[in-house]
Structure formats: structure tokens, C-alpha cells
């Protein structure tokens, strides 16, 4: 088992599956799916990002008990980072910890136990986590995939990560009134309006 985890992790790392390399995203998913070809594989695709849901049943159950979730995309790295190597008990390479190592484990665990457990278990493989997850995990949820419990194999130093902050990304556009710099009272400084409203009045800082 141990050697097959290392072997699979290394082959996953050797594919530069970054957001802008759609070919590599398909390749890395194909490689992973080769491990679970004896199961039902449901393929999804949104905006060019492929993902898969794998389960032993012939048709998808309404509700899984547990879903093992893994993403196979990585943030961009230098060319040599896609050549994995072992040293001092560690495996080095782009995505080794985030999260192709964990993905390999989840794939192989699923393969090992999915048909043995008495409840519906699924493996969810996505390729867009690093840029938001909207075309992978979120899209599958939109398509009705449900479960009582999900484990995403992200690295947590063996901690159980049960909370995550919400995010709001926003842009403020301010229109002021231009004037010569010697006559500031004739204008309205758009930079100041932005800063003062956001930082001073809302006191985010």
C-alpha cells in the first residue's frame, strides 16, 4: 500500500495541472480515474474544468454517507518542481502537500474500502480548488450531489478543520472631481473618498 501511495503521488505531481493548462487538468483526472475504473464514474465539466464523482453503486444514491473530496489542481511552479523526489523521509514537488499526496491516499483508500463498507461512500475529484472551487465541488453540489459528511484531504497538520472564514472580495469605484493640485478645495479627491469611507468609517483597519 505504502509504495503504491508514493508511486501514485509522484505520477500526479509530474503533471503540471495549473489553472491555465486545461490539457493537464484532464490528464491528471484521467490518471486518477485509471485507479478506480471498476467503479461508476460520473463526469462533470464546467467552463473547461473537469471533475468526477466515483461510487460503487450503479446509479448515484440520493445521499452519500461520506464523500472523500480531493483537488488535483496546483498553483503554478517552476519546471523542476514537477519532478518529484524523496529525501529525508519527505516527498518534494509542486502539490506534494497541497494536495496530491492526500489525493493519492483518498483514491487508494476509497478503492480499498468502498465496496466493503455498508454505507454509500463516494470519491470526489475536482480540478479548480485553487481558484475558488466554483466549477468543481460547487458545481457538483448544484447538480444534486449530497452527503452527511465530507472530508476534504487538505493538509491540516492532522488537525480537524471544521471552520473556514467567509470571503467577500469587493471593488470600490469612486468618482471625485479633478482639479489642479494647488486648488484642492475645487476638487473632490477620489483616493481620499475611497480610503476614508472604507478604512476610517467602516474601520476595517
Amino acid at each position: 500500500m505504502f509504495s503504491s501511495i508514493i508511486l501514485l503521488t509522484k505520477s500526479l505531481i509530474s503533471i503540471p495541472s495549473t489553472r491555465d493548462n486545461k490539457k493537464a487538468l484532464n490528464q491528471v483526472l484521467d490518471l486518477a480515474l485509471r485507479e478506480v475504473k471498476d467503479f461508476t464514474i460520473e463526469l462533470f465539466e464546467k467552463e473547461g474544468f473537469p471533475s468526477a464523482l466515483i461510487y460503487p453503486q450503479k446509479t448515484r444514491p440520493n445521499n452519500f454517507k461520506i464523500i472523500l473530496n480531493a483537488h488535483l489542481d496546483v498553483v503554478s511552479g517552476r519546471e523542476e518542481q514537477y519532478k518529484p523526489y524523496e529525501k529525508d523521509g519527505k516527498l518534494f514537488g509542486r502539490g506534494a502537500v497541497d494536495m496530491k499526496g492526500a489525493a493519492a491516499v483518498e483514491i487508494l483508500v476509497f478503492k480499498e474500502v468502498a465496496k466493503k463498507v455498508s454505507y454509500p461512500l463516494a470519491l470526489q475529484l475536482v480540478t479548480d480548488e485553487e481558484i475558488g472551487g466554483f466549477c468543481g465541488t460547487k458545481y457538483q453540489i448544484e447538480k444534486g450531489v449530497r452527503a452527511d459528511f465530507v472530508i476534504a484531504g487538505e493538509p491540516t497538520d492532522f488537525g480537524i478543520n471544521n471552520k473556514a472564514k467567509g470571503i467577500i472580495w469587493l471593488k470600490i469605484k469612486t468618482k471625485g472631481k479633478a482639479a489642479h493640485g494647488a486648488y484642492p478645495w475645487r476638487g473632490k479627491n477620489a483616493l481620499l473618498i475611497t480610503f476614508l469611507s472604507l478604512f476610517v468609517e467602516l474601520s476595517f483597519i
Partner: protein
């Protein structure tokens, strides 16, 4: 001496034809050749100067020698800002106005000064006209060359900058322009406690600097101001910016203030905030005493000629080259003919104001 309106208009129109945009010193050279030729038949002494490639011309009724003190120093700049339309260098006369690039800023006023020098009656006063070619980019190699490097001194200085109204500009704010640079560690934006934000650092520093320049209630806005004009920083919405820079424009006018006094105060705050300071530009303020003999005389002549009762003293928020003379202790004013739309395509000067301007200066010189 009587004025020939036609000759004056012709002179100004000819000056506008030269495309004397500041960086085009070849055109300045041609314009100076034209002016020298125009003054050839007069008894004036004419001399050309040059610093860092910028040409200047001086014309005087006495031998040009900067070891003596002149009574009156007249000044005009031949350079203009670039024109958006080509035909701005083809002046047009319509409805009593001369249209063209530089008509108001400031070939109109300059033309009057050249004409006045040519027609100058006999006088004991030593009068010199300086024509420079770098006012639009700061005046360091033109006007300031005469005062700072050549040691030119006099009892009175007048630059013929045109305005929307007849104004005697006796005060000007000083300028300090500077850049602040901040460097921090930078981090993923979800981990705010791991790094300071370079943009916010600059903004916080600005909040402290701003206290040096409190807004005051005053109709003429004669208080010092600071403008945050430019800010750069950040690479992505989910990164804490690790580098930022911002540029500021201070215009000062309080009696205690000098550019160095302000820079010292700025540096104290900036060092405390651990930011980097970079000076972009500085120039001192101008404050001419209105009780000065020449200034007072000019004010009286203008009032009489325009038939008005109110003094025309004016405080200038922007700058013109008169400050260079004032910095070395010469009572200085900006005063010119009137028009509108300077630096714009429809720039013009009123012909009638050119005539009035000539009459005023002629009476002033002979007083």
C-alpha cells in the same frame, strides 16, 4: 510716444507662429532670431544666454552687465505648452481677440514688452527685458539662471503672465512635491496579522502629515494645502501589498514656512512611520511687500488707467517665474493682459487689453 495697434498685433501674431513648445529649442532659436531682427533698429543692447540647452534673450536700454542693479526687470517667456490642434500655431483674429497657442500664456504680454522696449523713450532708469524659454517646465534654466547663477539684481520685477482679469499677483504659494515609499513583508490576505499593508501604512502616515496642513475657513483659501495625487501598490486582491508608493503636492504660504522647514517636519513624521521619503520638486513662496515704491506706483497707474477704485493685489495659488526674483529679495509681481482658456485649444487674449497694458506699462516706466 503713441502706440501702433497694427504693429503690436502683427508682432504678437508673428510670435505665435513659432512653435516654441518648451522642448523645441530649435523653434525658440528661430523666434529669438526674429526678435533680434525686430529690435535691430532700436538702440537696445541685446544678448543671448543658454543654460542646459535652454535659450534666453535679454534686451536692455543700458549695456548688459549683471554687476549693476537694474531699476526695472521685465520678464516674459517664449515657451508654450503643446497644442492639441495644429492650427493653434496659426493665430486668428476675431471679435477683438487674438486666438492661438500662447496668445494669453504669454506671447500677448511678451509682445507688449518687446514693443515697449523698442519704443522706449529716453529715461534714466536702467530697464532690462528677459525672455526665457523654460517657464512651463519650472524656470530653473531660464529665469532662475539670471538670478541664481548670473546674480542679476534690480529694484522691481514684473512678469507679463496673462490672466482672466487684471491682477497684480504679489503673493505665490511655495511648493513641495514628494513621494512616499513603503515596504512590508507581504502575505496572503487571509493572514492579516502576519504582515503590515504597505498601502495602509502610507495612508496612515498621510493622516499624520495632513495635521500639519489644517483646513481653514477663508474665502481666498490662503492657507497651506496638501494633495494626495497618486498612489500605486498591490498585485492581487488576496495579497497584502508589500510595496506601495504615493505622491503628494504641498502648497505652502504661512510666514514660518520654507520648503526646508516643511521637509524637516515631514521627515520627522515619515521616519517615525518607517517610510521612505523622496523629494520630487520644491520651490519657495513669494511675498512682495505692497508698500514698495514700484508696486504701489504700478497699482496706482493700473487703477487710474482702468478707472477703478479697488486695489488689484492678488494672491496666486499657482506659480510663475516672478518667485525667482523675489527669492533673491526683489519686489516682484505678475501682471499681464487679459484673455482666457490658457493651455486649452481656444486660448485667446483681448486686443483691447494689450493696448491698455501697453499704456499702463508706459506710464509706469516714465513715473
Amino acid at each position: 510716444m503713441s502706440i501702433s495697434k497694427e504693429e503690436l498685433i502683427k508682432l504678437i501674431v508673428n510670435l505665435i507662429y513659432f512653435k516654441t513648445i518648451t522642448k523645441d529649442q530649435e523653434s525658440v532659436k528661430k523666434a529669438f532670431a526674429f526678435i533680434k531682427d525686430y529690435l535691430k533698429k532700436s538702440n537696445l543692447f541685446v544678448k543671448e544666454f543658454q543654460k542646459n540647452g535652454f535659450l534666453s534673450l535679454a534686451a536692455s536700454n543700458s549695456y548688459i552687465d549683471f554687476s549693476k542693479k537694474y531699476d526695472i526687470i521685465f520678464h516674459g517667456h517664449i515657451d508654450v505648452v503643446a497644442a492639441s490642434e495644429k492650427d493653434q500655431f496659426k493665430p486668428k483674429i476675431k471679435d477683438g481677440k487674438i486666438f492661438g497657442r500662447g496668445a494669453l500664456d504669454m506671447k500677448g504680454g511678451l509682445g507688449v514688452l518687446i514693443y515697449l522696449m523698442k519704443k522706449l523713450p529716453k529715461t534714466d532708469k536702467k530697464i532690462i527685458l528677459l525672455i526665457t524659454s523654460d517657464e512651463e517646465i519650472g524656470g530653473e534654466n531660464g529665469t532662475n539662471y539670471f538670478f541664481k547663477d548670473l546674480g542679476l539684481r534690480g529694484n522691481f520685477f514684473l512678469t507679463a503672465e496673462g490672466e482672466r482679469d487684471y491682477l497684480l499677483k504679489v503673493k505665490q504659494k511655495g511648493v513641495v512635491m514628494f513621494k512616499l515609499k513603503a515596504k512590508t513583508k507581504g502575505e496572503h490576505s487571509a493572514y492579516q496579522w502576519l504582515s503590515e499593508n504597505a498601502i495602509i501604512k502610507i495612508f496612515n502616515c498621510y493622516q499624520k502629515i495632513k495635521k500639519l496642513f489644517p483646513k481653514k475657513k477663508s474665502k481666498d483659501h490662503w492657507y497651506s494645502t496638501i494633495n494626495l495625487g497618486l498612489i500605486k501598490g498591490g498585485t492581487a486582491v488576496n495579497s497584502i501589498p508589500n510595496e506601495a508608493e504615493a505622491s503628494f503636492d504641498i502648497r505652502f504660504c504661512e510666514p514660518w514656512q520654507s520648503s526646508d522647514a516643511i521637509i524637516n517636519k515631514l521627515k520627522k513624521i515619515i521616519q517615525k512611520e518607517r517610510l521612505n521619503f523622496e523629494l520630487i520638486y520644491k520651490t519657495e513662496m513669494m511675498a512682495t511687500d505692497i508698500k514698495n515704491f514700484y508696486v504701489n506706483n504700478l497699482n496706482n497707474v493700473v487703477k487710474k488707467e482702468l478707472n477703478i477704485k479697488k486695489d488689484l493685489y492678488f494672491k496666486n495659488h499657482g506659480t510663475n517665474d516672478a518667485r525667482f526674483a523675489n527669492i533673491v529679495g526683489i519686489p516682484s509681481v505678475g501682471f499681464g493682459p487679459i484673455g482666457d482658456n490658457y493651455h486649452a485649444p481656444s486660448e485667446f487674449v483681448y486686443i483691447e487689453s494689450l493696448v491698455k497694458y501697453f499704456n499702463i506699462l508706459e506710464k509706469f516706466v516714465l513715473l
